[in-house]
Subunit: 327 residues, 2 copies
């Protein structure tokens, strides 16, 4: 049992060889922005498994990234550097992690047997799903808004990222319902394969480049469904100033947070083409109850919170469409 | 079936006499602050039942105040003016309200039979529950923080207002855990009988007056447990300016909303003594899923959101204790 990759590094290889490494760090509750704490634990997948493999470990068990004490193992993508043989790596729900830890402390000679039935199936062909309202003035200029259609494999993916897809589709419904005719083409994209290799995202950016499509903005909703707090923005300063002014008008419905930062994995590849990128930022307090586990089901999504997210994105897209970045 | 009290008023008494009045207004989804929409519907209890009684109605059914379509009747306090005979008044869950409305439209001659098993039991003696940390410098000056211990009768009252009580008790635990010795006496009060006649609140204010206890601030948490957004304040301008400066420091954990407005029903009677009053304001998007119905159970409270509320109140009390209102 170790709490960090650094701690494992200090243990001699001989002690580790043939053993199961148990990464058991609790998610740090000190961060208001819970994604920061997520990073601390997901390092067990991104780096911890590789270090354990190099030391000859038989397998790793990693405590799930959630504040809840529950029975859902939370998983996620895992990568090895070239030339490292993969070892068995399993996520352990927090309830079991606490139990295993207790047993190890009480019975230091305890042995753990691990058996898994997981498979990796061969790749199959899938597609981004795209819908749009043609722009009345600039049909060749695009504002793109989207989420991703795949989800982590043992759940419905309601928060990650069914909700983001629905919120994006809703923009088109809202514009139709209000009768607003956008000047630019509003394109809703449900990207494929965000979870593993971002092939949908890369393909979309490639096609945009080869077809010379000009994107004046891209917004992603992929941080769960909860009351929206604001937007994270990755864009030139001139646009950022306009964004601040636009969002100032949205304060009456709780849009108080605008900050320079990342956007979303799916729209990320558009950055190379100079597209101003944004992410819808909802309240993240409950996200890691659902993220990448079997608990991410549709009954956990609150309709009102989802609508507030759509409305916020719709309002922002309306302003960008109307004033471009000259607001 | 009517949508408003005004609409009922226009219907001749003869048509209403002996009938069941069905108030069926949906909760208005246009308000970001959901308490505003709550007012529209709770008027059926505060005024609608009286108007129906005067017109000789046999009973009223009132659609529940919630955005959800669910099976929980939501209730609340009901009052009659002197000299009006009470009639049967029932809350109908939104699912049934939609069904009754459909049936009335489809079969205009449909008849509805209503039977209820509700009782009002005789009053019994109960008490406010009070705990405090004595102030190191000004033991005779108080900062009071609290919620109410009673709840609407068919539920656990987790959001209304078990959570507010727990958040208030937590202030004492946090001060003990950090070793902070407050200058003023910090008093946690769990008020009794908020739901019906506010007898605990009135008694507390009376005793404060008769014992000449000086309260420099009072904070109430009674708007459900959710991510805190800020504080509502009912206080002199000089204090309000200090409050704005204090809360400015709390923006990094989402305290963005400070506004002049009501505080809480339990601390309200202290206003006559000139006490600066505040209410913790959490996100209200989900509150009316739980408010005054059997769904208000402890499994619906998120620990992290509850802790953020306590932490926000603790930080504010720390500043008031340290700087009084001279910040």
């Amino acid at each position: 049992e170790v709490e960090s990759v650094e701690q494992l590094m200090e243990i001699p290889d001989d002690t580790v060889r043939g053993k199961i490494v148990f990464y058991n760090r609790k998610m740090n509750p000190d961060n208001y922005y819970t994604f920061r704490s997520y990073g601390d634990i997901s390092v067990f997948r991104s780096k911890g498994v590789e270090v354990a493999a190099k030391k000859g470990a038989a397998a790793i068990l990693a405590r799930s990234s959630t504040y809840s004490i529950d029975s859902f193992p939370h998983t996620g993508v895992m990568r090895y550097a070239e030339g490292i043989d993969s070892i068995l790596a399993l996520s352990v729900c927090t309830r079991d992690a606490d139990r295993i830890s207790f047993l190890l402390k009480t019975f230091p000679k305890a042995r753990l047997f691990v058996k898994t039935y997981c498979h990796t199936y061969p790749d199959t062909i899938s597609y981004n799903v795209i819908a749009e309202i043609k722009g009345s003035e600039f049909p060749d200029k695009y504002i793109v808004v989207g989420g991703h259609l795949d989800c982590w494999d043992n759940s419905e993916g309601a928060h990650d990222d069914g909700g983001g897809c629905v919120q994006s589709m809703e923009i088109i419904r809202l514009f139709r319902a209000t009768g607003y005719k956008p000047r630019h083409t509003i394109r809703v994209v449900m990207f494929m394969d965000e979870e593993i290799a971002q092939r949908g995202a890369k393909k979309y950016a490639e096609e945009a480049l080869s077809k010379k499509e000009i994107h004046i903005a891209a917004i992603e909703s992929d941080r769960g469904v909860a009351t929206p707090m604001g937007f994270s923005a990755d864009m030139p300063d001139s646009c950022y100033v306009a964004l601040q002014k636009m969002t100032e008008l949205m304060k009456s419905w709780g849009i108080w947070l605008v900050y320079p930062g990342g956007s979303g994995v799916d729209i990320g590849p558009l950055k190379a083409q100079g597209v101003p990128l944004m992410a819808l930022v909802p309240d993240s307090q409950r996200y890691f109850e659902y993220h990448h586990c079997a608990n991410d089901t549709h009954d956990k999504v609150n309709q009102r919170e989802m609508q507030l997210g759509s409305a916020s994105m719709a309002a922002l897209i309306y302003m960008i469409d109307k004033y471009e970045w000259k607001y």
